[in-house]
Symmetry: C3
């Protein structure tokens, strides 16, 4: 089923130069360690030299400065990993969902669904929804009223798009994600001394630009008053929560299990590690990297890498560490006081000596 | 589409007093910073004075003590934020889902669905389910056998309610949430030295009282033996996990990505910050605030705010901090020992001097 | 509806010995604290002696060494908790979903669905899917092309299985989980100085062995090139993220809200606490326990318990702790330097004294 390509054919499409037999046939991609015959792998980091030496791959994608490290047929390029991604795209074309609208789909008459779209089984498309060309909607998706989805965007099965959501071109949304859900906004009120919460209607939208990917079971809330905005080229992993009124800058990538609280503004080209958390109303500059698991409580105004993590320890060691941390303030104060007292005593003794 | 209201009409419905022209027309809500003409905003905190001065809003909701800070038409009230929430509810009435039962819904004959309910496309309602009046079930929801849902409760699209769940009045459940899933209970057993896990049937239910909101993709597990209970007025954000046999006290709010382990009992009017975690079998008192990202490992018996967070740092600084924390116990012991030795030496020297 | 069993009937099926009246009738399970008449509870831990004394249970499952602690009818066994689990299974048989294929299910002609399977409403089963005997698929599930599910496996409502996923026998998948989603893999590329992300096709599969349970809204990504593998007897709770190319060892249990990054290899019989996070490309040995909320950043080569947690404090105390941690490196250096200076001074003074 997969296409078979020669190195020559690959280079004609993707650029780069060949060293070795240009007719070497490639049928799949592989990692250096596990590649089989007919596979092409990539080498990007000198620390994997041993794997390069022993690989069973049929060819390698490699930087010019590493080209001498192997006698295998190779494609030479400055960015082997990105090149590998594109070879893999050639060898693994996107599965073509059957054309047309499944008979079980429920589509309101006022929705605009061009003939080039593919609509899966049990889909629901509400009134005044508009699609661009070549949109794919997986089985079980619900697209609520007044939403729009532009050309070539793919929704995998069981995605929920809430009313009024705007989605750009060439996006890819994965199963179980919920886009445009009400933000979490309540005002506390006391009635005769009894406190309860009054819901603040969430009347903004979610606006998603082009080339955005959104992972499985990720949730993005609509704005309270203004919109929540996900800029071009953003890539979100699974189980991420983006709260109301956030803005995620272009080409930022966010790994799984991250939470971003309301009205946070994240810069462009940021990298946010898995399970990191960013508090509300913060601003994060462009090109910031947040380490996995780190809670960010203050705005970050300068590019760089930021971390907030407890180091892990054997549990018995951690028990001592935790006790020390709990008493760090009094402990450090006490040590400091004792040293000060000693310094005074020693100064007196030294002065006595001189006299 | 939105209703247009004068300040006079608003005050007639919600109370408070007017200062300025009572015929000022309001068509929407806005924030001070971004409000447009015709919008009403609120002012609740003196630190936003600059925004109050420059706002383009047509009117402001404000406390009596702040009323002099602006010459705009205003509504004066003690709780501007809650008042704002109610004005927004007036201006943004809940969307009226079309009446009736969609032809594609699958409803068992033994289910009791009053004519006042709205049932979306591709919904599944199993046997012996009972609904109150005016219940709304979004497209793609599955309501399993023997569940009940009381008056005016709304389920957004693609919600899953497991068998036997009891849901109160005026609740609002968001897309992708799963209520009444089996709790995570297994007993370890060894067979001829080989260990494996034996599932403990989860035979309790989830019982949810009135006015409870549950966010997108949040999960609440049924009790192992007894019930999991969510009391009146609780508001849960997205991607929260509530394990079996928990009890969440009335009017407690829980932000996104929080996990609460089995049999934890949370008090009333608590506020639990995003991504906080609460271990199992703990008790949290009423009126406790947990800071975001904080892991709570012990019961909390007194109202107040509790925190457990590593401060974030530039990564290079954190590397040093982490190394210090890892060696905190021996390091502090060593410093303490050296100070003790110095104290003894200095005491001897001082004694010698006196002699 | 529940079966009624005597202690004698239970012991005939599950082993163990009886002390007291073997005709004692049992209709349900209960905890010591809340059990009602007719219930059987278990006693496993001497610290619950008070509850054993006051329980209203009709019988107790207990270890030989604790048997004298109660005069209630009892079943004596070495592992009361596992025995209790099995009694509960006898008393709470799995609900028998109605046989057959619901008329609203959409099943491709090339799919192989034996007559012994149960297929709920609005299910979608794509082409070349194969099921074993006695498979149960809850309402709203989507099973994509080329997947296979072996005998007796149960999918609860609204589960999504992506193409090519292999699932073993006797598994239990809970609502909202997404299995076989694309992994999160992108290569960064600059075009005329503009950086963007190129998707790496995810061409591996998810392979799940027998007796695996997967919680609600949990996500397991397909491998990038090779497969993601979940071994026999693994139990996963809700809202867990397992990234591409992970391998989870047999009989490992993982609690809710855990994230495991790409290519991590977890050993057998591990226990991973709720909201713990494990970074990518790490190896965790067999029989390792990770405490809840702990971020693991290095491989663990030895069985044992590992922890990485900030202790929680009243917020005011934490503010001081956080300030101290932030300045821990300079603070400790300064104290160390001062002590060194004092030691030198005291040495000089002591030397002087001797002369």
């Amino acid at each position: 089923m997969h296409p078979n390509l020669s190195l020559q054919q690959i280079v004609q499409q993707l650029g780069g130069s060949i060293s070795g037999n240009p007719d070497t046939q490639i049928s799949r991609v592989g990692s250096l360690a596990l590649a089989q015959a007919g596979a092409i792998a990539f080498f990007n980091d000198a620390k994997y030299k041993v794997q390069l030496t022993s690989t069973a791959a049929g060819a390698v994608i490699i930087r010019p400065e590493h080209a001498d490290l192997t006698s295998l047929p190779k494609i030479i390029t400055d960015n082997p990993y990105a090149y590998f991604a594109k070879v893999s795209q050639l060898l693994n074309p996107v599965y073509a969902t059957p054309n047309g609208i499944h008979a079980s789909a429920v589509i309101e008459a006022s929705a605009n669904v061009p003939a080039s779209c593919r609509i899966g089984a049990h889909v629901v498309i509400e009134h005044h929804v508009t699609f661009g060309n070549n949109v794919t909607i997986g089985s079980g998706c619900v697209i609520e009223r007044n939403s729009s989805i532009a050309d070539n965007t793919i929704l995998e099965a069981n995605v929920t798009i809430k009313h009024g959501t705007q989605i750009g071109k060439n996006c890819h949304f994965f199963s179980g994600c919920v886009i445009g859900n009400d933000g979490f906004g309540y005002a506390e009120e006391a009635n005769h001394g009894k406190k309860h919460w009054v819901k603040i209607p969430q009347v903004g939208r979610v606006v998603i630009h082009d080339f955005v990917d959104i992972g499985a079971n990720t949730t993005i809330d609509r704005g309270a008053i203004d919109d929540t905005v996900i800029e071009e080229g953003v890539k979100l992993d699974n189980l991420i929560q983006i709260a109301h009124n956030c803005r995620i800058g272009a080409h930022t990538v966010i790994a799984g299990c991250v939470g971003i609280a309301g009205s946070a503004v994240i810069g462009k080209h940021c990298k946010i590690g898995g399970a990191a958390m960013i508090l509300g109303h913060l601003t994060i500059a462009d090109e910031v990297t947040i380490s996995p698991g780190s809670m960010i409580m203050r705005s970050i105004h300068k590019a760089g890498t930021y971390t907030a993590l407890m180091p892990s320890q054997a549990h018995e060691d951690w028990l001592k560490t935790a006790a020390n941390i709990r008493h760090l303030s009094p402990h450090l104060s006490q040590l400091t006081d004792k040293i000060k007292a000693l310094e005074q005593m020693v100064a007196i003794l030294a002065a006595d000596k001189k006299t």
